[in-house]
């Protein structure tokens, strides 16, 4: 019941938001729904093992982590969105607000669904709900981004459906339930050739949704043209849901004895994503696109960690939390800078610390955090992943990742420092934007969480992480 309520709440709130006629009042539904969702999520996470609809909806240990991240990130973005939409009075938010809420409902459904087919339906639904969000600005460039997002995303997701069907066929037997628990239990009776075909299709499909190279092409366009708050939710929420889907599927393959095969593919795609992102991040002229490449890089790190196995899984799950929250900081503060300078080109933005001191500082902190500088959270998780590579005698992988992280640090650092330091150039446009409570405080809260994760992981959270890692290593 709890899980049903968790999914129904945002969908109902979307209905309420659609019924409100005033553009001014509609955004206030967001924080209210987010607060309710957060409270229900905390209840569900601390409950022993909530399940509904005959086991179709349940929270597995990795799902708890993603749900926590999703709910916290959405709450941060919801408060921010109220402030942001005040600055965008010229555009109607009649579609935007309900779609944000449907997005929350559908991503929650991805997290809670324990059925291979239902999970696919939910991923596709969350993709469709985000298309109007990317098109919020109604410019030719945003149409182009939306079209590419829909086309590349739908094709990827279609391949994931084919992969789900093939996986179902591989497991065909007397008991043909497609619940993850049953699939795991029957894994060693599965047909190996079909299973391998299924994994490749699912990897390409959900990898497209995650934005792994070479299926990442939609990402810079979508993140570049969408409002910052949408970028934060995609980079910290939707991509992690796709990651969860991929982790669940590779867990099944591992249980079937194909762990070496899946591990190799995951490490390869992860490494490729980090490399591609590093190449495009150096000298990037558009700072929102730069953040998109950073997201590609970190998705690569996530699958690389899972591919390495062992303690890499724990590290990846921790990195998922760190990356999700840090992406919130970066996208939201970048959006503030974008508002303040009315440009997202690196050439026009100088002296962000002077014009918007809070957002400039937060953006700088976010940069240090995401590139793995201590004392922020990502430092710990990236360190754990690299040391796992060395511990497993994968020196080439570990060394390569370190080198690429250095390239990213230098490439991104140059851009970010140019943006925040110095004085705004005299011809730089002035806008009415000033750092306010609603657009500043949620971002500051988010970086505080990232800092906390770097200094000390709270005990209950560590228990959740250990549970999830143990669950994913378990072979029934």
């Amino acid at each position: 019941m709890l899980l049903l309520a968790l999914i129904a709440l945002p969908v109902l709130a979307a209905g309420v938001a659609a019924a409100i006629a005033s553009d001014r009042w509609r955004p206030h539904v967001l924080p209210a729904a987010a607060a309710g969702h957060l409270a229900l999520s905390l209840m569900a996470i601390s409950a022993p093992r909530p399940s509904s609809l005959g086991g179709w909806l349940a929270l597995d240990p990795p799902g708890r982590l993603v749900l926590l991240l999703l709910s916290v990130l959405f709450a941060i973005c919801a408060v921010y969105a109220v402030g942001y939409l005040r600055y965008r009075r010229e555009l109607s938010n009649r579609v935007f607000v309900p779609c944000l809420l449907i997005f929350l409902g559908m991503t929650t459904l991805v997290v809670c669904s324990q059925h291979l087919g239902l999970m696919w339906v939910a991923v596709e639904a969350s993709t469709l709900a985000t298309a109007p969000l990317i098109y919020f600005n109604r410019t030719p460039r945003s149409i182009e981004a939306t079209w590419k997002y829909l086309l590349v995303g739908s094709v990827g997701i279609a391949l994931a459906l084919l992969g789900s069907f093939v996986l179902a066929y591989a497991s065909l037997g007397e008991d043909s339930s497609l619940l993850f628990g049953d699939l795991l239990r029957r894994a060693d009776h599965m047909n190996r050739s079909w299973l391998r075909v299924a994994f490749v299709l699912l990897l390409v499909g959900y990898g497209t949704k995650m934005g792994l190279a070479p299926m990442h092409t939609w990402k810079p366009d979508a993140y570049g043209e969408a409002p910052g708050v949408v970028g934060a939710l995609l980079a910290g929420g939707l991509t992690n849901c796709a990651f969860l889907a991929l982790v669940r599927v590779s867990h099944i393959c591992q249980a079937a004895g194909e762990g070496v095969y899946t591990g190799r593919l995951l490490v390869f795609l992860g490494g490729l994503s980090i490399a591609v992102a590093a190449v495009f991040m150096v000298g990037q002229r558009d700072f929102k696109r730069m953040l998109a490449y950073s997201s590609i890089e970190h998705m690569g790190i996530l699958v690389l960690g899972v591919g390495l196995g062992g303690s890499g899984i724990f590290a990846s799950l921790l990195h998922m939390l760190n990356n999700g929250l840090t992406k919130g900081v970066l996208f939201l503060s970048a959006a503030n800078i974008h508002r303040a300078f009315d440009s997202k080109s690196v050439q026009d933005v100088r002296g962000a610390m002077r014009r918007v001191p809070l957002s400039g500082t937060l953006f700088l902190f976010g940069f240090f955090a995401i590139t793995g500088s201590p004392p922020f959270g990502p430092f710990v998780s990236e360190f754990l992943i690299v040391s796992r590579a060395f511990a497993a005698d994968r020196f080439l992988v570990g060394g390569g990742v370190l080198l690429l992280l250095l390239v990213v640090f230098i490439g991104m650092g140059r851009t970010v420092l140019l943006m925040v330091q110095g004085l705004p150039s005299p011809e730089a446009r002035r806008t009415s934007y000033h750092d306010g409570l609603l657009t500043g405080l949620p971002v500051a809260f988010s970086i505080a969480l990232v800092l906390l994760l770097g200094l000390h992981i709270p005990v209950p959270l560590e228990a959740l992480l250990r549970d999830a890692a143990a669950y994913l290593e378990m072979i029934p």
Binding site: I143, W147, L178
Partner: protein
């Protein structure tokens, strides 16, 4: 026995429609062919599964209605509103794509014969037909420049996946099948809205104009 040959006959029809879609130069004919393919596919759950089961019947009716009537109507409306030239405009010519499609079909047959099938599925053409239709969808998506033909490509791709799903009529729960159809409907709906906006903004559906976002 009779059922198997009926299914295979219909699947051969699907394959011929694939080649026709790759070769046709009229968007209207393309939409018609995709609709016909949808109807043929919609009938098949009745032949493959238990014809008396409610689920197979419902899925068949929903598929025929959606793929044979609702979606083609939405696409034709988008075409009419856009008032574009009714030609397909390929990046690669019609004959080369047809040849690609035909060789793709042969490759699918070769690839599928290497995969182990359950005994009751061995004589069916489902797997090669599915892979070949997915490939046709890909070809339409990548080699045609109009937004609307790309949407049809996606539809055909989805048809290919539907064919594979026929192997699972008993295993795939009803709710999931309906969910997939619903997602397809909403997807094409969103796409037709975006097509409308592309046309308004660029006065064309030529996706080559969607090229300002790049490195």
């Amino acid at each position: 026995m009779l059922r198997i040959s009926a299914v295979n006959l219909l699947l051969v029809g699907v394959l011929l429609l694939n080649l026709f879609m790759l070769g046709t130069s009229r968007i209207r004919a393309l939409i018609q062919a995709a609709a016909l393919q949808g109807v043929v596919l919609g009938v098949m759950p009745l032949l493959v599964g238990d014809p008396r089961s409610w689920n197979a019947g419902f899925i068949a009716i929903a598929t025929v209605l959606l793929k044979g009537s609702v979606i083609p109507r939405m696409l034709r409306r988008a075409l009419r509103e856009a008032q574009i030239k009714r030609e397909v405009e390929p990046l690669i010519g019609f004959v080369p794509t047809m040849l690609l499609g035909a060789s793709g079909t042969l490759l699918s047959i070769a690839f599928a014969s290497g995969l182990p099938l359950e005994p009751q599925h061995r004589e069916l053409l489902i797997v090669p037909a599915s892979f070949s239709t997915v490939l046709t969808g890909f070809l339409l998506l990548t080699t045609r420049i109009k937004a609307i033909t790309q949407a049809i490509g996606y539809l055909v791709l989805e048809n290919g996946i539907f064919i594979f799903g026929l192997l699972l009529v008993e295993a795939m729960p009803f709710l999931v099948e309906i969910g997939v159809l619903l997602d397809l409907f909403v997807g094409i709906f969103v796409v037709s809205i975006i097509i409308h906006h592309i046309n308004r903004e660029f006065a064309s559906l030529d996706t080559r104009r969607l090229a300002s976002l790049k490195e």
